[in-house]
Symmetry: C2
Subunit: 110 residues, 2 copies
DNA sequence: TTATATGCATAAGAAAATTATGTATATTTG
DNA sequence: CAAATATACATAATTTTCTTATGCATATAA
């Protein structure tokens, strides 16, 4: 994913937010989009991504639609209603995380 | 630690930065300082903290000094030279993380 | 005197990632 | 044309990091 361990725990947030911006995406597309947006800094590995997508689906946050394109399979994921709600929660949690880390590491500003 | 999974991977960064600000600290002190600075949002559990401290020591980033105060043991930790270097790296990694997450989640600003 | 606070430690288990494979088709390159 | 790369999914074994539970010991507050 990255040489920095800070990204551990961020994958679901990233997936959900991307899907809130793009209506539907498939796994490989997500890896490429993340790589492009982060200029190569973040590379989502398949071993992390696919289990995460399956779990989000099992939790009812994502819906799947299987499509065949150029004779190759694609599984398009999109947010469910509760997936949309959870995305809002995750974004709030991220804002809180950043604030908290700043309070912790720059106590002068507190 | 927190209800949010985003903190996974942040513990070493927090420990090192606190030690860069306080010269020396002992484990229990770290848990209380973090709780105070984050107004209760972040509670470092002992099961996470002590193994982390031991590992940082084994890696040569921390030195230990055992002291008895009021008949109770305290293990004071302080940064070694390479611990100080690693703290700089961790802080850069945190700044990168925040920038990258913002690029990822607010692509309009990119 | 009993609960809470201080102070350390470790073990069992869960969660989330890495690394390594595996399968299959399409396209680019030498 | 053959070989490498890109596209596209998946899972298993292992590692890392955390939670939860437990244990020991002393001091202080209720």
């Amino acid at each position: 994913m990255s040489n920095s361990k800070l990204y551990r725990g961020s994958l679901n947030t990233i997936i959900l937010k991307l899907l809130s911006q793009h209506d539907k995406m498939y796994g490989y597309e997500i890896t490429q989009k993340v790589k492009a947006l982060t200029k190569g800094e973040l590379n989502i590995t398949e071993g992390a991504l696919y289990p995460a997508l399956h779990k989000l689906e099992a939790e009812g946050l994502l819906d799947v639609e299987v499509v065949k394109v150029d004779n190759r399979m694609r599984k398009y994921y999109k947010l469910t209603q509760s997936g949309t709600k959870e995305t809002v929660n995750k974004m709030e949690a991220l804002a809180d995380y950043i604030n908290t880390m700043q309070a912790l590491l720059n106590p002068k500003l507190a």
